[in-house]
Every structure is written in structure tokens, then in C-alpha cells.
Symmetry: C2
Subunit: 467 residues, 2 copies
Amino acid sequence: MTKIDYRKILEDIKPTESEKKKVKALSDYLINFINKKAGDEEIYAEAVLVGSVAKETWLSRGPGSDTADVDIFIKFPLNTPLDYLKKNGIYLGQECIRNMEGRHEFRYASHPYITGIINGYEIDFVPCYDIEKSKQLKSAVDRTIPHTIYVQDNLKKEQIDEVILLKGFMESVGTYGSEFKVGGFAGYLCELLILHYGTFQEVLEAASEEWKPGYMIDLRKYGTASNFDEPLVVVDPVDPKRNVAAALSLQKMSEFMVASRNFLQEQSSTYFYPREIPADLKTIKEELEKRGTKTLILSFKTPDIPADALYPQIKKTEKSMMHLAEREGFKTQGSDSWTDEKEKVLILLEFDVWMLPKIMKHYGPPVWSHTHQQKFLDKYKNKTWVHGDKWVAEVGRDFTDVQLLLEAALSENKIGLLKFGKHIKKEILEEHQLIDLMEFLESETTQKDVLEFLYKYLHKNWSLWRT
Amino acid sequence: MTKIDYRKILEDIKPTESEKKKVKALSDYLINFINKKAGDEEIYAEAVLVGSVAKETWLSRGPGSDTADVDIFIKFPLNTPLDYLKKNGIYLGQECIRNMEGRHEFRYASHPYITGIINGYEIDFVPCYDIEKSKQLKSAVDRTIPHTIYVQDNLKKEQIDEVILLKGFMESVGTYGSEFKVGGFAGYLCELLILHYGTFQEVLEAASEEWKPGYMIDLRKYGTASNFDEPLVVVDPVDPKRNVAAALSLQKMSEFMVASRNFLQEQSSTYFYPREIPADLKTIKEELEKRGTKTLILSFKTPDIPADALYPQIKKTEKSMMHLAEREGFKTQGSDSWTDEKEKVLILLEFDVWMLPKIMKHYGPPVWSHTHQQKFLDKYKNKTWVHGDKWVAEVGRDFTDVQLLLEAALSENKIGLLKFGKHIKKEILEEHQLIDLMEFLESETTQKDVLEFLYKYLHKNWSLWRT
């Protein structure tokens, strides 16, 4: 039925035998080092390999791109005090990275862990509890070992290829990854979908034909699916109280459904590869001009917080600015945001209506409401009249230009008008720039990634089609 | 309690004894003429004096202003065929006017009647059935005779002054008259309010203290008030199935409540006299300029139809134009309309937002709706993307300027976009002008009444206050 040569694609995106050997050899060495160290120092802990490397389901973009993320979990007995676990878990990871002369970085999920760059691989060392049942769960990371075991026990050898095809497709159409930046499908979720439907092709067929918001998958028939209200529900086979698709947004679920349908129609192998975004300054400027809208761009320095904290804070700021503008009577066309996660955050706000008259109607209490109307009349005096049975007052608009409104709201003075995380607030108050996007494009030698961000804003369907 | 010298006001607005005598003499003469004529020609009909002249409750604005409207009803027995009644009723009125060498004009209420200008008075000759009970009612005008009798039988002599004060007040604050132009209080309704509350002062106290939408008055305790859903319900003492306040709009009811409260506080006799509207071209232009809105004015020739048909048609057109603009994404600030009832109709439309970008988002079916989405995708092709679980298409806006939109909708071509009565439609298609109000004010030597209309639009509370 399909015209796609999946074998050919797998040659490009599946780790080769030598690549697997190399990664396995490295992770075995690291695990042995940690376990020996733990024994030597009488730390009650044991390192194990988990995640996509353990399951052999990772996506590899060919020689030279060692994209395997190695996850080594250091498990402690259930009765270990949390402080002991954190301190010794981090210590063992740190010692291991030091031994390999790698760079290290502290990170934070449900509790702190340590990441090392060793021989070009990014390796996470995560302390956790050694649980047998989901009831024993002490923190979210404790599920990772049971997840790995479940997939290893249930995924057939030939289904590994199906998982890799699904991940490759997801990545290319922009729906792969459960981190806040994407809000898409986690690797474990991809594996469960293959376990449930059998093959890559069957997952796509189901997504394009059957799925809609509220769709439920319950592999082990726990019967708990209806307890969740996220758009897609996939009950965790190792924990009936968890929806594996909890982080999947309605947006990304829908995009996957649409991309699936398009792929099944178009049958193009380009759906498995990264695409060059044809972002060109001149074209973007012309397209913006033609829209006839006004687009502002707010830029400020990226606060030094983890990506999974950063993206929700940026989104919150973006939404809050849009709401403020709408509340004051302006009309928005759309918005988006972008960050390189290191230096710069950009928030784009596009307006259909950005100028308003000086006057504004303000509706008050009914003319028969004796207690309320006196206050209204005292306040607005002879600027009041009657409409239907309500008082109306003509009031002056504080801001007739949306740019001035937002600029005011971004200053110390009026910052209460907006809602954002404290790290972003601090950066914005310290320094920011709010200007017309056209002006921004004139003044900056715009980076390629910024142009790509703008291109994707103007072409929202770009990643979902190939023809 | 009150500081107002009502006696002094009544001197100005109550008909004098000589005025009463003059009107009565004339109407007696006319009635005798008709009754004799009917006898001579064997027409089974009898003329009677009804309305405010019969009840002596008419408002007189002093010498030289003979404002009495004389209503002569020509009643026929209940078993008279309608054709016979119409033909002979009109005939008798016509003969009477001819005899007095007056001008005549045909008019139309529930059926045709004839109006004559005789000795400077406007006199209506209305054929009707001679009913005894409301059940016998054949047409709305048949109630007029029972109304007159009810007021004559129940209104105490000293209450006539109270009625005249109430009518004078209503007229000055702009709430008098049940015709469509005003949508206010009928003369009969004013009389019933005095019958119910006793005095002018008590009516105003009740309106300002007790009234709210849904307020009910049922003088003869029929118990039918809750059958009506108009803002004010006053059950007709001669017909339990009729709400005398049916034509009163919520707007005029509210304005009367507010004006009552203001008068009771301010105690100024100016509330009983016409006010000069300080409409001045230069000031109006300055005020318009300051608002920062855009105001368009549509003008066309008045169609030759009765005022009570004309005003609803104009309002319908005004509302329809506003709705069209809003539907297309523009934002309105307000609207109003005016006519001299003879030559010119003006519709004023004020906009907060009158220009919009070329692009527009159009939301489509959900991505999981298989039947609907294909149509949407076929139609909008690569101009579509996904938002949440919905399809969205970027479509070009047909009209980015509200003036061009409305101009198009007023042409033969697109006239279906608007709703208006056929008489107005004909006039507009024949000739109209839609221009910016500022331009209109430049090009025309604007009449005083047009300036007054604009002044009242800009000062909606003008008639409700005096200080």
C-alpha cells in the first residue's frame, strides 16, 4: 500500500550497530564506575541504564551526529532519606564525570540531577528510588526505571524500527518532545502508541481517522482513563494514576493528526527529515507589509533559569500582553515568542487595531439602582447619559496607541497591569526594547534563527505539509 | 415642600377660558354639521368630540400657538359593514372640511381617516365603531371613545391641572408622545398616571423612587398586568387585554425616571418650557474633532409615507448599517438618525475603528471532523493552519475601509447585505450621499434643525438636566 521505502529511511535515522556498541560500551563503563565507587564508599545505591538507549529506540541523524541522550539512573532503597539520596546521587554522578574529564552542569526535574558532556554525549545522572509498584512512588523520576522495563519486556524486536520511524516523523513535523518548549509527544508515549497500534502506519491511520479530543488508550485496561481530562489520554501501564500524554497540548495533538493525514496522502519520505526553512529577510518584510497589520516586537535578555521554567514564563508574558491590549479595546491578530534559551527572548504581537479614539463608553448601573447610581453620577458627573435602562459615561481613553499602552505596562510604574514570572519581570525592568517589527528588521542584522521564527509565524502550516 | 410656583407655570401652558371656548365652539359647529349631513343623507353615523380637547387636558403654549389637536370621531353601529364605514366616514369628514374651506389630507391609523386644517386647527375626522365593551372592539381606534369617557368620568376637576403639568414636563424633557418618532408617553397614559398617583408630584416621586423595568399599574385591578412584557405596564381601564404603555420604550421610560429625579432635586421651572438648543457649527466641529472617531453621514430623500411608517424604517436602516459594519469587524461608537419628514433623511454612524488590515482569520471545522474539513481545505487550500483543534484560514478582507463597505452595501449590487423598508430602499438606490460628517458640514450651509440633531447626538443627556 505505501510507496515509501522505510528501509532506506531507517538507514538514515536508526542508530547503526557500531553506534549502538559505542554508546553501550560507554554507558556500561560509566555504570560500572559508579557501582564500584558506591561499593567502595559504602553508599547504598546502584546505577542502571534507562531511557531510549536502554530500549534501543533512539533517533540517530547519521554519522557525526551522536544524538543519543544517555540516561543513567542511580537508584536507592525505598527507606533512604531524601537528603542522603540527593547528596550521594549527585556525588556519584559528579565523580563519574570527573573521572571521564567531562564538563558537568546541575539541572532540576522533580529534584536536582547532574548532566555531563562525556566523549560528545550528553549524559544525565539522576538519583531516584528503587520502586516496585507505582504506589511506592516518591517522585516523578521514580517511574523511569519501570517505564524502561515495561518497554523492554513488551516491545517486539521488529517494533523498534516502528518506534524510530514514528519519532523521526514526529520530529520532522514538529510534534516530538514533551518539554514545555514543544508540548508534544514524549519518547515513551511514542513507544506506547506502537505497542497499542502495532506499527507506525497504524498509529498514523488511527490519528488521522479516529482521534479526537478526549480519545483514550488504556493498554492494561486499568479503567482509569476517564479520570483524566487532557486532549489525549494514554494510561501509564506502570501507573494507572498517570496520563502519559498529560503534557501533550491540543495544538500538537491536532498538528500530529493533520500531519498524519497529509503524509498518508502524500507518501513522501521528506516527512522523516529536517527541512530547511526558506526564511529570507526581504520576503518576510514583503509578506509583513502586505498583511496591513501592525506588529510589535519585545526583546529582552533571557533570564538564567531552566528551559522548562523559561518557556511557560515567556508564554505567560505573551498572553498577558495580548489580554491587556484586548481589554483596553485593541484587536489582536496573533502572537508568538521565541528564545535562544541563552541570550535573547523575543515576543511578537500582531494587531488588527492598534489605534483607538480618545473617547470610550463606560457602562454603569441601571437608572433604578439607587445605591449604585449615585456613586457613578458623582464620579462621571455631566459626562453621563442613559442607554436603555443603564447609565453610560463618556470617559477618556488612557492609551489610544497600543504601543504606548504596552510600553507603560512594561515600566516599574504600571507593571501590575501584566502578569509574568518574576525572573522575566526582573529582566524586562532592567532592560527591554519594544518596537515595530519592521524597524526591528531594519536595525538588526537579523540572525537566521530569528528569521526562521518569523517565517514560521507567517507560515503556521509550514511543518505539516510537504507539497 | 416644592419651591415651584405651579400656578405661574399653568398660566403659560394651560389653555385659557377664551381658548377653550373658541375650540369648543368650533368643534360643536363641526359635529353639528356632520350629524346634520348624516341625517340628511341617511348615513347611520354620529360624530362625537374625543381626545384631549374633550377632556380639557391639552397643552397650550400660550397665545398665538393654537396647539389643540381636535379629534372628532364618527361612530357607526356595530353591524355596519367596514366598507360602508370607511367610505361614509371619510365622506362626512371631507364634506365638513370643504364646508369650512379647509385643506385636507388623508391619513392612516388602523384604517384611513381624514385630517383638515380649519381656522388654523388640525382636526382629525376618524370613522370608528360604537362599542360598549372592549370585547366588541373591531379596530384599535374604537377604544378612543371609551378612553375619553373613562377620563371624563374619573378625573377630578383639580387633576386636570396635574395632567397638564405632567404633559408640559414630559414635553420639555423629550418623553412625551407615543408615536414612533418619540416612543414616549401618550396623553392618555399621562392621564392614567395622574388618576393612579393623584398628583404630578406623586407621579414623579414614584417614577424616580419606585419604577423599574417590569413595573405594573392596574387601576381597575383586572389582574392581567403580568400578561405583558413591556418595560412599563399600565392595564387599560377600558380593556384588560391592552397595555396603554405598550409603545413606551425602555429608553424613554428611563429618561423620564432620570428627569423626574433631577427635577425633584433641582426644583427648576425650566423643566416645563422648551429649551433653545445651543447648536453652533463651530463648536460642533470642534467637539467632533476632539472625539478622535470617524463619523459618516448618509443622506437621502424622505420617502412619501406616514411618519409612523417612516421612523421605524429609518431606524431599521440605521441599525442594519451598524450591524453590517460590526459583522465585518469594524467597531461602532454610536449612531442616530433624523428627518424633517418631508425632504431629507440623515443617518449618522460613528466609528471607533473604521480601517482594518487586508488579512482576516476565518475559523473552520475541527481537525477531526472528516466531512466538514475537506470542504474547508478545498476552499482555502494552503491558506489554512491549525489552532487548538480547529482549522483556521487566512482570508482577504473584502473591505478594509468601512465607508467603502457601506457604499457598496447601498448599491444595487450588494443591497442584500442590508435590511430596510422598501420605500427607503427605493430612495437610497435612486440617490444618496455617504460622506464624512466633517465634509458634510463643510459643504452644506447646515440647517438649524440638523445642527440641533448633531448637538443632541453629542449631548445625549441634554434634555434631562437643567443645571
